[in-house]
Subunit: 229 residues, 2 copies
């Protein structure tokens, strides 16, 4: 009965028949077989959004790095480690109606990653030379044919959040940026709440601080509204 | 009744009255507020050893980085992030009868760690300059007065495991090294099994591959034997 009720609700949801891609979590970029560069994304906001999209009836492809939070139920999960693996998984998930890039993708990988564990030697300190990772968001946002109707990026900043987000939106060519302040004192990175600014072509809407689940539900509702219009 | 039985067993254990320090898990070394350098230690072997020491009646101080595996029950847990925090916690835990350094401490930290999130700029790629972290194992192994009677290090290698471990034992001045091969193809890092070589002053004993719990029990038994002799 419960399953029937859920199925009935799903079938009735505004996103039935829509396919949505969500990326989530951090990426890990290897330095050597035991060391890597990571970031503090827990994957909580991406999972909350994925869950909310499923609840509205969407078919969700969920491409996730090694997150602390489990993926939502009812999505197709694709697990990756590095930015380059995430890019491949994203390309394979297309075409979609909407794509939401909530993952905290490493901007850089280590150019000099080693096959063997780096050793401490008398010869001085190692220097990690970085090279740029592919820009997954821009790649999809700037597609010609086959571009998702709605492409949404995330921006995690520690200062000038709205300005940086508006500039990022233009630079990447995406439709919306969900921007948040991840300064340690906000407790947002790794926490259960989020305070975001939704930056669109028209304006920047600061949302009140609320749970990541609630941010996910509101964002899913906005996506449904836009895809349905 | 169960608690009584446990307490009776504890009171009867060969390590009753002994205080043992165990370090466990990885350390995280910040690059900026959202990025850090980590390593693939899950903390599973450290937790298994701590549990086995408690079962033999030891008072265990368990200094742990951000591990995947929860700390054992019945220990005093001290949580740290970086190598320098771990060193401080270790110093505060002394004096102890035995100290086991199972943590995968980062050899290096980022000399140029930033207070603000690093941005992609046209000005080229960032380079991470590293500086050496304190050598926690050597610091304790080479103490004069107040040195624990038994100081045990771990070595995670991807090649020449026993040779590197024997050299590490001499260089650090510790009594034993528990060496293992963490090459990705072994599945040991992050897995439930371990294959170790116990390197002492006298010899190098390869142990058969067994669960990390069993490695913990055998090692705890050897510690009890040595402290009791």
């Amino acid at each position: 009965q419960i399953i029937d009720a859920i199925e009935a609700e799903l079938t009735a949801g505004p996103l039935v028949g829509k396919r949505v891609l969500v990326t989530s979590g951090p990426t890990h970029e290897p330095i050597d077989p035991v060391r890597y560069i990571a970031n503090r994304s827990s994957g909580a906001q991406g999972s909350a959004l994925g869950q909310a999209l499923v609840a509205l009836g969407a078919e969700v492809v969920f491409v996730t790095g090694p997150a602390d939070v489990p993926p939502p139920k009812g999505v197709q999960v694709v697990r990756v480690q590095t930015a380059r693996e995430m890019q491949q998984a994203v390309q394979q998930a297309l075409p979609v109606d909407a794509a939401v890039f909530a993952a905290a993708v490493a901007d850089w990988r280590v150019a000099t990653a080693s096959d063997h564990k780096m050793k401490k030697t008398a010869g001085g300190l190692p220097v990690l030379e970085l090279e740029e990772n592919p820009d997954i968001l821009a790649g999809v946002a700037q597609m010609g044919a086959g571009r998702p109707r709605l492409v949404i990026g995330f921006a995690a900043e520690t200062e000038n959040v709205t300005e940086y987000a508006a500039a990022k939106r233009r630079r990447k060519g995406c439709d919306w940026i969900v921007a948040n302040d991840v300064s340690p004192e906000t407790g947002i990175m790794g926490g259960s709440e989020n305070a975001v600014v939704l930056v669109t072509e028209e304006n920047a809407e600061p949302w009140p601080r609320m749970s990541k689940s609630e941010v996910g539900r509101r964002l899913a509702a906005r996506i449904a509204e836009t895809l349905g219009s």
